[in-house]
C-alpha cells in the first residue's frame, strides 16, 4: 500500500506490503499497529485508489493489489 502527502509524513513511511483480503481488513490491520494513522486514513477528503483507480466503499483485494490512500489533492503549480 502507498501513502501520499501528509499521510506519508504522519506514518513515517510511503510504501509497505500488508496482507489483507479487503479494504476493511487492511484498515483493521493498520489500526492494530497505528490507530491514529488508521483514523487519518478515514478522515475527510481522503480517497482510496486500488490499482490506480479511485474506489468508494468496500472492495475485495487481489493478492497483488496496489492500494493508495490519497489526501485532498492540492493541484500542482
Amino acid at each position: 500500500m502507498l501513502l501520499f502527502g501528509r499521510l506519508a509524513d504522519q506514518a513515517g513511511w510511503r510504501d509497505r506490503v500488508v496482507e489483507a483480503s479487503s479494504l476493511t481488513a487492511l484498515r483493521d490491520a493498520l489500526a492494530a499497529v497505528d490507530p491514529s494513522l488508521a483514523e487519518a486514513l478515514s478522515g475527510p477528503g481522503v480517497q482510496v485508489a486500488v490499482d490506480k483507480a479511485i474506489v468508494r466503499g468496500e472492495t475485495f483485494l487481489a493478492a497483488s493489489a496496489e492500494v493508495a490512500f490519497l489526501p485532498p489533492m492540492s493541484g500542482g503549480w
Partner: protein, 146 residues
Amino acid sequence: MVTLTSEPFEPGAVLTTFCAGRNETGAVASFTGLARAEHGAALALGLEAYPGFTAAAIAAFAEAPWARFALQDYVLIHRTGRLAPGEAIVFVAPPAGHRRAAFEACDFLMDYLKSRAPFWKKEHSPGGGRWIEPTAQDRTDAQRWD
C-alpha cells in the same frame, strides 16, 4: 501530451520544439508557472505525484478542451520533486486556429492544474514544511467552467 518530470526543464526549449514546422497553426498560447521565493519565505516547493495515476488523470481531463476549443493538440509538462525558487513548475501550450480559443483553453487547463490535479504540494519555509490544500478561490476558479 502530458509529461511529468522530476528534473528541471526549460519552457523556452519546449516552446521551440512545439512551434517547429507549424504552417497552419496561427496561434500558440502558453503559460509558464515558476516557483516563487516569496521574498525569502519560500525555500523550496515539494510536489508529489502518484506515478501512473497523476499523468493519466491530467490527460483524461485535458481531453475536454480539445473538444470545447477545437484544439489541434497541446503540450503540458509538469515538474515533480523539490523545486528551487525560479524553477519552472509547469508549461502548457495549446495551439488554436484563433487566439481567443487558445487563451481560454490555456486558462481552463491552468485552473484544473492549480486546484484539482492529483498532486500533493509542500511549502518549505525557514519555519519548516507545510502541506497545502486547495483554497476556496482555487475551487471557485475551477467551477467557472462547470
